[in-house]
Amino acid sequence: MTRYVMVADINRCVGCQTCTAACKHTNATAPGVQWRKVLDFEVGTYPNVRRAFIPVGCNHCLDAPCADVCPTLATYKRPDGIVSINYDLCIGCAYCIQACPYQARDRVDVPNKAYGKEFGQMKHEQKVPHSERRAVAQKCTFCSDRIDYGTANGLTPGIDPDATPACANACIANALIFGDIDNPNSNVSELLRTHKHFQMHEELETGSGFYYLWERK
């Protein structure tokens, strides 16, 4: 079996938002919509303060609450663990947005205009309008088109750039690592073996596919 997951080594992450920007480029997301972003956490009180940068996005849960509630089957779980959206089926009811405990989903009803209505769409915004995503649910896809391309062409997702999500490719700290958790020899399996890790909101039992490494074992 195959299950693709994302691993974030939060010892490495510096919150630079390169992944955020790379995702915005690759997926041509709307102004304000970030399928991947890095949060800035501050823990404790002065002078005993810690600051941590936490990449977030769709957790591609095993028991995806979004897929359970979706009335149209637009959101579905792929055999490789990726939670996908069939934009053509989605009615934009936004129920999945409410069901996601990771605030990973958005719905955008208007074409991308980064500088606002007054200035219209820039050329690159016109070029990749993604009108299929208008007024329906959207979220991180783990760049599944790359995964599909990679597996069809003998590439290893998470290793070969053409088969790896844009955020992991772009991460300048190598803090985001993508791979197959069901393969005991994969990059992510190795990291999870050698590091202590947690998942966000574990108590909600979503079976999140997003792991945070916080200390070496």
Binding site: T18, A21, Y115, V128, A166, N174
Partner: protein, 911 residues
């Protein structure tokens, strides 16, 4: 099954050099001629230190091309009145009209004389971003070279917002315009405010992430918890501007508690530690050779430092004879006088600076200071070695890094000296794992630090000080910031003018000091990729000054606060639209030390927008219209565009009498570049570079460290004792006093052989009280700044995506204040506040955070725009309007620090 890769069919290689931590190679995905996506260049993953990746700033480049706010045609000002409140009434004009207007001005200047009555160049030029603008201005340097002399001293923060003291002292001591840890091997870093995670670029971030993964311990000492503090093992919240005390205490612990564990071999053989210091503070010298003397423990006598087979004493006092050479012609002959080794002087000098003393100054527990000193020493592994490129070298995996503000203004000298001493004491200077330099800009040649190693008569690294002797001192400044007259250390390289004191150029526009020529206005001012009207200090005054300049030509991307005063706006093609070849690799700024070196091409990836023109086309046109074509072509042939087009190995020189198009010029440069790195064997031209993007060859790692060269040439680091500086200071003082100038006296005091500790906080407070007649207790907070990785150097405030993603970093929104302190003052997150310094006031939103000292406030980045489209709606204040330019706060290197005293007042509730 094969199908087209979803990462795109057409990817065009180019580079990003928006910040000094570049360059980084990248690919641009292009769909039907439209650039849609920035991607890493994984083809270069193995030959670039950051794996072919680019940082967030590069991702702003697509919007940069298509930004609707761009200026897309040349413009001229029709409102002759200049000022912030004046509408410039720019109207579009043709390139012919714009270039002719500039050429007319240039020709007039050429005819009337290039120097004005005050002795200053009539043409001035300001470029931003630590020299990065050069990587976007095509052949403009070749055009400028035909106009010299040019005043490059109107800075936009250079000298006060760069690593200024590090630049000067770093180059003096170890050819290190930029100092960095050898991060790939380092195990313990004490970082005083060095925000490497925000300013180290892709290379820095990647290397430090790898180091953390390896278990490096980095201690971040700074008043607020920056991104770097966040990513460090420990944060030590220190009072602003007290870093010298902390560092002195570290040295104290090493010298007075752990002296036996220091690297005595390194101190003895590679530094001036054993040199004997005579009563007047200069070295005791051999009367015949004039060489400094050391005491040989083998023969029990004083011998010249370079005598073979000796064992110089590191410590101790001796009764000896010899001569002492002071400033100018001062000379003392001594018979049987007491002399002390420089190292012994150091021990004595550092005695008072105990951790307990420093604890009170820095507001940091003395136990922490002592622990850090001991951890540093433990990690230094004195005695261990490592093999690099077949040579056995010391391994000293410890380093101390300095951030801006720490590095600037008063205290900068102390910090740089103490930092370098911390390396020297454990033998960690310029060795694997230790503190190394990554580039030279004042010494020559700039292309390779190793080649700049030259032996001085006294056995140290020779340094190109500006002369201070009677005959050669430049008594009348040749540029408005008087760099060569006032700052011997700044040297006389192409970079020296920009190193400042750049604020002096602005300050004197208002009123010059006594016995000094009143600064004139440049008749023609070129501005590119810089915006001093928001990015320097006392921005209100600078804006007024800029408005008085008679003819300003701005290469303009969008309207901004500086080009609001321009007479001509020229829209050049942006990063992804222009053509240029640059040198990459080797050892460059920040942590860009590579295992490769070579060249990379920047090329148009999409149709240029509007009627913008390639910078090289503009330069050639200007040269032609100014009747300088031949000189311009000659400059190109000499290598003004980056590569000499003719050497004894190859010849791709251009016909100097002809006008050449952009592609022809860069094709010649590409061929010459290929020939240069292959010893003339290959000559790939523009087509090759367009397809591949870059051409590299190996750069031996041993060149990262000066050690091999220093050992081979028998050169010493001039540390700990600063005899040269002391002499230079005295001479400079005499020269200035001979002219009746006493306003630089405080700066002269800084030329000390062993820097004396001062109360730097009191120095700031006193200067503000004196100059503004305020009671400093009315301004209870220290205001500091911090770098934004998303914006720094990028000139990208008008890029929506950058704004959007930067908001994810909590400290971008406004004035950062300690949460507890805010609550005590009845303030809460989101409140609108007015921030007032003795100079002026600004307004912004309060951002409460735990990670900042209660006595400190922080304003990130440089905003406060009022003309730049998009950015003018941010409503985010900047400290720049609040910081005065004061001579009192200018140190001997011509630098000041980003530091202010402020008070705050609530003016509105949080929404």
């Amino acid at each position: 099954m094969t199908q087209e890769s979803p990462t795109g069919k057409t990817k065009i290689p180019t580079y990003c050099y928006q910040c000094v931590a570049g360059p980084d190679l990248l690919n641009v995905r292009v769909e039907d001629g439209i650039a849609t996506e920035i991607q890493p260049n994984f083809g270069a993953a193995d030959c670039t230190p950051a794996g072919g990746k680019v940082c967030v700033k590069a991702f702003g480049l697509i919007q940069k091309v298509y930004n609707p706010h761009r200026i897309l045609t040349p413009m001229k000002r029709t409102n002759p009145k200049k000022g912030r409140e004046e509408d410039p009434k720019f109207v579009p004009i043709s390139w012919d009209e714009a270039l002719d207007a500039i050429a007319e001005k240039v020709n007039k200047i050429q005819a009337e004389g290039k120097i004005d009555a005050a002795g200053y160049p009539r043409v001035a030029a300001s470029f931003g971003g630590g020299g990065t603008s050069t990587y976007y201005m095509g052949t403009f340097p070749a055009f400028l070279s035909t106009l010299t002399p040019i005043d490059m001293g109107f800075g936009s923060g250079q000298g006060v917002k760069c690593y200024h003291s590090e630049h000067l002292y770093g180059e003096l001591w170890h050819r290190a315009f930029i100092v960095a840890p050898d991060t790939p091997k380092c195990e313990y870093i004490i970082s005083f405010g060095m925000n490497i995670e925000a300013s180290g670029g892709v290379c820095g971030v990647r290397r430090h992430a790898d180091a953390r993964d390896r278990g490096v311990k980095r201690i971040q000492v700074e008043p607020h918890l920056s991104q770097t503090g966040a990513a460090s093992s420990e944060w030590v919240p220190i009072k602003p501007k007290t870093d010298p005390a902390f560092m002195y205490a570290l040295i104290h612990v090493l010298l007075h508690e752990q002296r036996d564990r220091l690297d005595k071999v390194f101190l003895r053989d590679r530094t001036g530690s054993p040199y004997l210091v005579a009563p007047n503070g200069y070295y005791l010298r051999d009367p015949e050779t004039k060489k400094p003397l050391v005491y040989d423990l083998k023969t029990k006598q004083a011998v010249p430092f370079d005598t073979a087979n000796i064992e110089p004493a590191l410590e101790g006092q001796f009764v000896l004879s010899g001569i002492e050479l002071g400033a100018d012609d001062d000379r003392w002959e001594h018979q049987d006088i007491k002399v002390t080794t420089a190292f012994e002087k150091l021990i004595e000098h550092m005695k008072p600076f105990t951790p307990l003393w420093a604890a009170r100054v820095c507001d940091v527990d003395n136990k922490i200071i002592r622990r850090i000193a001991l951890e540093y020493l433990d990690h230094a592994k004195v005695g261990e070695t490592i093999e690099v490129d077949g040579r056995t070298m010391p391994l000293r995996p410890v380093a101390v890094t300095l951030g801006k503000t720490v590095n600037n203004g008063w205290g900068g000298y102390h910090c740089c000296w103490a930092r370098t001493m911390l390396a020297v004491l454990v033998g960690a200077l310029e060795v694997p794992g230790g503190t190394i330099g990554t580039t030279v800009r004042i010494n020559r040649p700039a292309s390779d630090r190793n080649d700049s190693v030259k032996l001085s008569e006294d056995g140290f690294l020779a340094y190109p000080m500006n002369p201070t002797d009677k005959e050669n001192w430049l008594a009348t400044p040749d540029v408005r910031n008087a760099n060569r007259t006032l700052v011997p250390l700044v040297g006389n390289s192409a970079w020296s003018q920009a190193l400042g004191p750049t604020h002096l150029a602005w300050m004197q526009q208002d009123k010059g000091p006594d016995h000094w020529p009143q600064a004139t206005k440049p008749d023609l001012w070129f501005v590119y990729r810089t915006n001093p009207a928001v990015s320097f200090w006392d921005t209100n005054q600078i804006t007024k000054t800029i408005a008085t300049f008679p003819f300003t030509v701005c290469f303009a991307y969008t309207r901004d606060e500086t080009n609001h005063m321009a007479d001509i706006l020229l829209p050049d093609r942006t990063d992804l639209e222009g053509l240029q070849l640059i040198r990459i690799g080797g050892t460059k700024f920040i942590e860009q030390f590579w295992d490769h070196q070579g060249f990379a091409l920047r090329q148009p990836v999409t149709e240029p927008q509007g009627d913008t023109r390639d910078f090289t086309w503009i330069s050639t046109e200007l040269a032609k219209r100014c009747n300088m074509l031949e000189q311009y072509n000659k400059a190109l042939n000499r290598g003004a565009a980056g590569v000499a087009l003719k050497t004894d190995k190859y010849d791709f020189s251009l016909d100097v009498t002809q006008e050449h198009d952009v592609e022809t010029i860069w094709d010649a440069n590409c061929k010459a570049a290929s020939a240069e790195i292959t010893g003339g064997k290959e000559q790939q031209g523009l087509d090759y570079y367009k397809e591949k993007g870059y051409r590299l060859t190996d750069f031996p790692r041993i060149k990262w460290y000066l050690t091999a060269k220093m050992e081979d040439e028998g050169v010493r680091y001039e540390l700990p004792y600063q005899e040269t500086l002391k002499r230079v200071g005295v001479q400079l003082g005499r020269r200035l006093h001979e002219k009746g100038i006493s306003w630089w006296d405080e700066q002269l005091e800084e030329y000390e052989a062993l820097p004396d500790m001062m109360d730097f906080q009191a120095l700031w407070e006193g200067a503000l009280e004196r100059n503004f007649g305020v009671d400093i207790s009315d301004y209870p907070f220290w205001l500091v700044t911090s770098r934004s990785m998303q914006y720094a150097w990028g000139g990208n405030v008008s890029i929506q995506m950058i704004r959007e993603v930067s908001k994810n970093i909590g400290t971008h929104g406004g004035l950062v204040m300690n949460t507890g302190r805010a609550h005590k003052m009845g303030l809460k997150d989101g409140d609108r506040v007015e921030i007032t310094s003795p100079l002026s006031a600004t307004r912004g939103i309060l951002v409460t955070r735990e990670g900042i000292r209660p006595d400190t406030l922080m304003l990130m980045g440089q905003f406060d725009h009022w003309a730049t489209p998009f950015a003018k709606d941010f409503n985010v204040p900047s400290m720049n309007a609040l910081v005065p330019m004061l001579l009192d706060l200018t140190d001997s290197s011509g630098s000041g620090a980003d530091l202010a005293r402020v008070k705050i007042k609530k003016i509105g509730e949080a929404k």
